[in-house]
Symmetry: C2
Subunit: 256 residues, 2 copies
């Protein structure tokens, strides 16, 4: 079965895009066939993979409004085995444009079910909100990854997010399961990081990935070169972190 | 004239809430009368000021749907001279609830025009999107502060944000001016911070505040104690940064 992973959290700046791009690239480096869908109007994942938005003219927006099928908007990326569907600012209009569309929450799920090519993993990068774009991602996915920055404000929204997941599971997508909570930007030198990590592990136990992504400036440099970390600096702590996460996710998949 | 400052940027995690809370508190410490409005469904500014959401039962949401006037939802805060209107998760429903309300973009501007108490400054914290909540803030404001984290992805959205500001100015609010771009989480040790700061200053020139807010862990610790930085650790670089910013903004106001 194709693993469709939604990377979601309404808190801004927690590492959703960094996780979607670098987990995707790491899975491809480990031999998996990966499709990344950029469902954020900021389209950071698109530029983080070096895809020039002006060139393509084909975006996920056209799929969301039912104008194109998914197959026709898939691009190759700089990583062998990884493909992408570019995002664009047009996505910001989807919430109001689909107000009268009865399938509004299922536009992406429907498009994915009609996809001809098969992938091992599909990864969906979400915007920082719980609006229609994120609901589409959660309805199309069978797993959710929740990046949580090791900071206080990032903890606050987790309860609300969990409630939203169970509403989506009940109303739109009974297959939806939590793949895990991913601690990001962990800085072992600060007491705050240690406290937050302890609190999240204490509350969510085995739902937290063993892999913790450290704060690593190389991760924030890589997007300015349009490359995932494994191409920009494979020896960095950031690259090692996301490779470890990819292996942990592959292992969990094999054991059901 | 009451200075109404909207703190906006659709990029997540750039320091909008940290700026709204700490600039507000610094202006109050310098003797100004300040009102902070939390227009983000995450309500981080509300908890960052130690306001317990469950206690109040009165939120800005009721003002946005026209059920209450602003006066009735104003609370005192832990800082003398600073007041706040709490946010709540109900705000997430406003975009669809006001679809058929002709005044949908002006609900906050209308409420502010009816306010009986006068303040020197009103500061509005925005969510990470360019939806109806942020449009309301930009329509109600006469100045905009744009926090920009010294990171690559934060640069990408600036062009789109500037376009949105000029559309709002033309269609809804001719008084709207850019107060300034505020560089945040600046880390002098990384080349990335230096490069991004140089690029922003090179492109936006005098529109960039002289004050640059450094990356300072004390700023991210303070919210877990429900306090702004000037109460949590006045000697920290973060507190000094926001006091400097407050003085720069007061000075600019006096000179028109
Ligand atoms: N582990 C890390 N170490 C250092 N910097 C990081 C790390 N992860 C992400 N970053 C940087 O932090 C910023 C926020 O990350 P990112 O943009 O991936 O978050 P996001 O959740 O996708 O944000 P948004 O809510 O705007 O979509 C980016 O500038 C990114 O380069
Ligand atoms: N100068 C700084 N130094 C260190 N940490 C900071 C600084 N400014 C903000 N932070 C921390 O970075 C995180 C993001 O900041 P904040 O939540 O204020 O951003 P935001 O733009 O309001 O996010 P959102 O888009 O979710 O509303 C928070 O955990 C905050 O405590
Ligand atoms: Mg993102
Ligand atoms: Mg915020």
């Amino acid at each position: 079965e194709m693993r469709v992973l939604s990377v979601s959290n309404q808190k801004g700046g927690v590492g959703k895009t960094t996780t979607a791009v670098n987990l995707g690239a790491s899975l491809a480096v480990l031999g998996k066939k990966v499709l990344l869908i950029d469902l954020d109007p900021q389209a950071n994942a698109t530029s983080g993979l070096g895809i020039n938005k002006a060139d393509t003219g084909r975006y996920v927006y056209q799929v969301m409004i039912g104008a194109n099928d998914l197959q026709s908007v898939i691009e190759e990326t700089c990583v062998k085995g990884m493909y992408a569907v570019p995002g664009s600012y047009h996505l910001a209009g989807v919430e109001l444009e689909l107000v009268n569309q009865p399938l509004r929450e299922r536009m992406l799920a429907r498009a994915l079910s009609l996809l001809e090519t098969s992938f091992d993993f599909v990864i969906i990068d979400c915007p920082p909100s719980l609006g229609l774009l994120t609901i589409n991602a959660l309805t199309a996915a069978n797993r959710v990854i929740i990046p949580v920055q090791c900071e206080y404000y990032a903890l606050e929204g987790l309860g609300r997010l969990m409630k939203t997941l169970s509403v989506i599971k009940k109303r739109f997508n009974p297959r939806l399961e939590l793949a895990g909570i991913l601690l990001t930007m962990y800085d072992p030198r600060t007491r705050l990081s240690q406290d937050i990590a302890k609190e999240v592990k204490g509350y969510f136990n085995s739902k937290v990935f063993n892999t913790v992504i450290p704060r690593n400036v190389r991760l924030s440099e890589a997007p300015s070169y349009g490359m995932p970390i494994c191409l920009y600096d494979i020896s960095s702590k950031g690259a090692q972190g996301y490779l470890m996460l990819a292996k942990e996710i592959i292992r969990k998949g094999e054991n059901g």
